[in-house]
C-alpha cells in the first residue's frame, strides 16, 4: 500500500468531510486526485480491507438489538452459523473459544421482530440463545488505530 493510501485509512475513519465533494477534499489533503481517492477506496473494498464509508450509529438508536450467544457442538457449527447468517437482521457472527462458542448481533425494528428472529433460531437449531442486550455504552469510537509496521 502506498503512503497516501495508509494516510487515507488513518486520517479518514472519523470526521469524514460533510462537504459536497468529500473525496475531492480528501484528495487535496493527501496531494492526489479525486479519481485516485475513489479508485483506491474501491480497490480497498474489493480487497476487503475496507467495509464501507459509513456512519457508525450508537446501538439502539434505530430499532433494537442484542448480542446473542449459543453453545453449539463443533461439528454443527458451520451449518448453524450459515443458517443464522441467512437472517438479514444478523450483522456480526463470530466463533469464539469458549463453551459458548457462537456469538452474533441481531438488529430489528422492534422488540417483537427481534424476539421472532431469536425464536426461529432456537426452534430451528434446538439450542438455547442467550440474549445480552446493551445496557450502557462507555466507548467513544474514534476508529481503528492501525499499526503499519507489520502490515
Amino acid at each position: 500500500m502506498m503512503d497516501w493510501q495508509k494516510r487515507l485509512l488513518d486520517d479518514f475513519q472519523r470526521d469524514f468531510p460533510l462537504s459536497p465533494t468529500p473525496y475531492q477534499d480528501i484528495a487535496e489533503r493527501l496531494g492526489v486526485t479525486e479519481a485516485e481517492v475513489i479508485g483506491a477506496l474501491s480497490d480497498l473494498q474489493d480487497r476487503r480491507f475496507v467495509s464501507r464509508i459509513g456512519a457508525v450509529i450508537p446501538p439502539n438508536q434505530i430499532g433494537v438489538s442484542t448480542l446473542a450467544a449459543m453453545a453449539v457442538p463443533e461439528a454443527q457449527l458451520p451449518t448453524i452459523a450459515e443458517f443464522i447468517n441467512g437472517f438479514p437482521e444478523v450483522n456480526h457472527n463470530y466463533e469464539r473459544e469458549h463453551r459458548l462458542n457462537l456469538w452474533f448481533v441481531a438488529v430489528a425494528s422492534d422488540a417483537e421482530h427481534l424476539q421472532a428472529v431469536i425464536a426461529r433460531i432456537e426452534r430451528h437449531t434446538n439450542f438455547a440463545v442467550l440474549q445480552l442486550p446493551l445496557l450502557d455504552d462507555f466507548f467513544i469510537d474514534l476508529g481503528f488505530k492501525l499499526d503499519w509496521r507489520h502490515v
Binding site: 487515507l8 485509512l9 479518514f12 475513519q13 472519523r14 470526521d15 469524514f16 460533510l18 459536497p20 468529500p22 473525496y23 475513489i38 474501491s42 473494498q45 476487503r48 480491507f49 475496507v50 467495509s51 464501507r52 464509508i53 459509513g54 456512519a55 457508525v56 450509529i57 439502539n60 438508536q61 434505530i62 430499532g63 452459523a81 450459515e82 447468517n85 438479514p88 437482521e89 444478523v90 450483522n91 456480526h92 457472527n93 463470530y94 466463533e95 469464539r96 473459544e97 459458548l100 456469538w103 452474533f104 438488529v107 425494528s109 422492534d110 445480552l132 446493551l134 445496557l135 450502557d136 455504552d137 462507555f138 466507548f139 469510537d141 476508529g143 481503528f144 488505530k145 507489520h150 502490515v151
Partner: protein, 165 residues
C-alpha cells in the same frame, strides 16, 4: 427534533456512502432531499451524537488484526460505570459495554481488544487489569476464531418506521 426522514437518511448512511464525486447528492435522490439538505441533516445528527463516527470502516481482520479478544467481567453494579469509562480511555480497547447478567452467565462488563497476535493482546489485557485494578473480579477471555459475518446493520430494510430510543 428529528423526523422520519432523518432516520431514513441515517439508515442509508450507515449502510455506506456511494463512491462517486457527489455522494451526498446521490444519497439525497433516494429520500427526495437536496445535497445541501442531506449535509445539514447529517451535521445535526452528528452534533447530537446520533452518528458516533462518520468515515472509513475497515475490516480489521483483513488488515492483520486477527487476535480479537472479548473480555467479560463480573463487576459490582455500583462501580461498573466508573470502571467502564476508565477502560474505554485505554488506547487499545475497541469497545466497552455494560450488559445484563444472566444466571448462567454472570458477567456485566464487556470489552474488546483487537491485536495482531494473542501474546500482545494478553499483555495489553494484563496492563489494563493493573491500571484499572480489575484483577480482583471474576472474568473470562473469549478469543474469536472464525468470522462468519461482519457488516453494518441493514437499517433501511427492516426499519421503515424507525424508533428512537
Amino acid at each position: 427534533m428529528f423526523d422520519a426522514l432523518d432516520w431514513q437518511l441515517l439508515g442509508l448512511v450507515a449502510e455506506g456512502l456511494p463512491l462517486c464525486p457527489r455522494p451526498y447528492a446521490q444519497i439525497g435522490l433516494g429520500v427526495s432531499l437536496t445535497e445541501a439538505e442531506v449535509i445539514a441533516r447529517l451535521s445535526a445528527l452528528q452534533q447530537h451524537g446520533l452518528i458516533k463516527r462518520l468515515g472509513i470502516i475497515v475490516h480489521h481482520r483483513q488488515l492483520g488484526y486477527r487476535a480479537n479478544a472479548m473480555i467479560v467481567w463480573d463487576i459490582p453494579d455500583d462501580c461498573v460505570k466508573k470502571l467502564g469509562l476508565k477502560i474505554s480511555r485505554c488506547a487499545f480497547v475497541t469497545l466497552c459495554y455494560q450488559r445484563p447478567r444472566l444466571t448462567e452467565w454472570p458477567y456485566n462488563l464487556y470489552c474488546m481488544i483487537h491485536g495482531k497476535d494473542r501474546d500482545t493482546v494478553l499483555a495489553q489485557l494484563a496492563a489494563l487489569e493493573t491500571e484499572c485494578a480489575l484483577e480482583q473480579f471474576d472474568k473470562q477471555i473469549l478469543f474469536s476464531r472464525r468470522c462468519f459475518k461482519q457488516r453494518g446493520a441493514l437499517y433501511s430494510q427492516s426499519h421503515q418506521q424507525a424508533v428512537h430510543g
